[in-house]
Subunit: 457 residues, 2 copies
């Protein structure tokens, strides 16, 4: 423990400088215009893995962005930890809302502000530095494999193919991922579940051309109005999703599970204050923690149509669009929900317009076991580093890869995240606390040590 703390202390500044360099790469996977930047980021990650002491480092090409692989096999008899992370980030817009440039990491009262600071550059890079630390201090207790991808923010379309094609190379006993958050540093927690995702784009077409709203208004179905009516109908008065069959496979939690979940510290007044909202919103009959952790949801992520420039244009547009995504819970399948949504959305198209639904990407929900050696090792690592018991929580986000690992490699995942919900992931002014960054680098070697110890018993 002292050795760990000392190494971190001695390398504090360099650990930060290297992360900053990583954060300066504009690795936005959703927008082709950033392509060169994304590729440069992969090079940087590979280089840093080599410097940290990894062998077999390779930039593995895919149909999309490459996957960076590296490993250190010290003894085939020892357990192997497969570390997953992603070097791509969300688009930075709306740019005007950033207080400092998204790709120029800036520190304000102990926090690093930059796109990807927490999701996931700041978090996966902790593993690279923890690995370096274990190598340098001769404390590496397990074999380690790194798989850092560049398409997580766009659905990891090519990762599945890669994993299926590299099952031997990726053989491991557990997957370790830091791409989730804790309740707080005072209340360290481990996410034991993740929601799945079904993301679609809808296109509503009315007349075959934009029309003058004075000449045609009131006589021709307006695709914007029709899209609004369709979207409005997707939630009922009690904010339940109205799509037939949508809830069919959703398992209700037992009262005990609900109690355990709701036992996690949550201050609704604080929550509302942080977001500056008068009321929380959601499915009746469930708490906020249940709504985000255990219930499927439907959100409109974007909408556009007609004239959206400056000033006024009296147009009745030909088309209107929306990006809609659903978060899924255990037993719901991304493919099935995509089909159910598509069927329903096409069926509610009012006369006078036509509808097209295009699936974007998806991921399956997962629940990670809390009785595994790996989970107990994570608990123990947190207890040692934080001096507190870890609280099990259910995360609302999605990491499609987790379900894929179970299916293809047959191994479970431990979600050891050090972010905070307030880190503004996917938002302007994304941040990551420097404290959490160092705390993660301190905690991870403990996980490896305890995982080796518990596995040996």
């Amino acid at each position: 423990m002292q050795a760990i703390k000392k190494y971190i202390e001695d390398n504090k500044q360099r650990f930060l400088d290297e992360l900053f360099e990583l954060l300066r790469f504009q690795s936005v996977s959703a927008d082709p215009k950033y392509k060169a930047e994304v590729l440069k980021t992969a090079d940087y990650v590979a280089q840093k893995l080599r410097e940290a002491g990894a062998d077999q480092v390779e930039i593995c090409e895919t149909a999309g962005y490459p996957i960076v692989y590296g490993e250190k096999i010290i003894d085939p008899a020892l357990p192997t930890v497969l570390i997953y992370g992603h070097y791509d980030v969300q688009p930075p817009d709306p740019l005007e809302l950033w207080h400092t440039p998204p790709f120029e990491p800036t520190v304000r009262d102990g926090k690093i502000y930059a796109r990807g600071a927490c999701d996931d550059k700041g978090q996966f890079y902790m593993h690279v530095k923890a690995f370096e630390l274990m190598m340098q201090t001769g404390t590496l207790a397990c074999n380690v494999k790194f798989m850092i991808e560049g398409e997580e923010e766009v659905g990891s379309a090519n990762l599945g193919i890669f994993v299926r094609a590299n099952q031997e190379r990726l053989k491991a006993d557990v997957v370790l991922i830091s791409d989730t958050s804790m309740i707080s540093m005072e209340h360290p927690s481990i996410e034991t579940g993740l929601r799945g995702l079904a993301y679609l784009e809808v296109e509503v077409t009315g007349p075959n051309r934009d029309l003058h709203s004075g000449v045609y208004g009131g006589a021709v179905a307006n695709p914007i109005t029709m899209l609004c009516k369709m979207i409005a109908s997707l939630h009922d008065e009690e904010n339940h999703i109205t799509i037939p069959e949508f809830y069919d496979k959703v398992a209700e939690l037992s009262q005990d599970e609900r109690d355990a979940l709701n036992a996690a510290p949550y201050d609704e007044e604080e929550y509302k204050k942080d977001l500056d909202i008068a009321e929380v919103w959601g499915e009746q009959g469930y708490s906020t923690l249940e709504r985000t952790g255990t219930r499927p949801t439907l959100e409109v992520n974007g909408i556009w149509g007609g004239y959206i420039g400056e000033g006024a244009k009296t147009v009745l547009p030909s088309k209107a669009y929306a990006k809609i995504s659903m978060r899924l819970v255990p037993h719901q399948s991304s493919e099935e929900i995509t089909a159910i949504f598509t069927r329903h959305f096409e069926s509610i198209a009012p006369a006078g317009v036509t509808v097209q639904v295009r699936p974007h990407h998806g991921g399956e929900p997962v629940v990670t076991p809390t009785d595994s050696i790996a989970y107990r090792a994570a608990e123990k690592a947190i207890e040692t580093a934080f001096g507190k018991q870890a609280i099990p929580t259910r995360g609302g986000g999605s990491i499609p890869i987790v379900a894929l690992f179970e299916e293809v490699l047959g191994i479970k995942t431990v979600l050891l995240g050090f972010g905070l919900d307030s880190d503004a992931l996917h938002s302007p002014n994304e941040k990551y606390d420097i404290f959490n960054y160092y705390k993660g680098i301190e905690t991870l070697p403990l996980f490896h040590r305890y995982y080796a110890e518990l596995s040996a018993q």
Copy 2:
């Protein structure tokens, strides 16, 4: 009549070249980036008025874009015709839908394709050429005053101020405007009414920042979803507008008026085929001609919020926006309806979001008399030029200035338009038939002659 036809024949090509030059100016008043172009257009109009023989030509500055004035007073004893038009145009977007560049006029089977070809450059310029013709052939029968503005497409904000300040200079017996359409060249018609307009922009705010839809989705009101619910609620099942008091001042037409209106040629199958829609849409209990001509309407002209770029972003946005306009019929007041809408829209904001309504601009509805000397002169001019009786129709569009003229100058307007509903005003590939352009130049001098004759009786 022969003299008119001959002069047009002799100057055919030049008339077209001058219009093309006018159409090449990118005089988009809604977007500041076109400012220099709009100002250049005003200079061109002034120059052409001078060349045509107008006196006192002046580019009158306003708080916004200038108004071009010019006149020819041949005899104070003769009636004076005040010609109004506008040299500004609608924004050209969506650009990708134009078959040829919007500001590079192109002729395809007898039609001029360009932004402003019909609305209103092609139409007001017919008056400049008709005036030149009357000057050159010594047939000018009335005094003429031109007032060509540059802010019609953004609500003529400064025209009212100008008119109030120049009542002496603008003194006239009738206002003549070509900024409307006919049923067809086979069914020449004159619009006897125009709808008013109330144009607003709404802003719905949820959380104080964009959020990760996985972490917060299902627990925080999504401003896009809430905006959709609000917009969806503005029309009921029968497509009546649900805003309290909205219809209070709307006068129902008598059965005779409705019959006369519906007597105008209208082929619903043709209408649907032209727009490529399966069904027409609108307020139950009214025909398409009634819906567009005599009923108030509410249209969403634009909507935007969240991530609208390429690919996917799992964001729960902080804000969503819409541009909404209402067309008004006689006795409805733009100001009053704006207030009624604002009050209602704010009142239906769901908990968890806040709403801001910003009025853009408006205009009052008008009905022009069909028993006036001016209207009879217009009828006679059309009869002579087309060999057919003009059909009185109700236009769905708005020309706020018409109500202003009545109020400030106390004079009525004649709407002698030569466009077609199929000219794609405000849309990509706006067009104007060359035939209509020449036909207008041929008809307008007849109006001046008959107006002088009938006034003398």
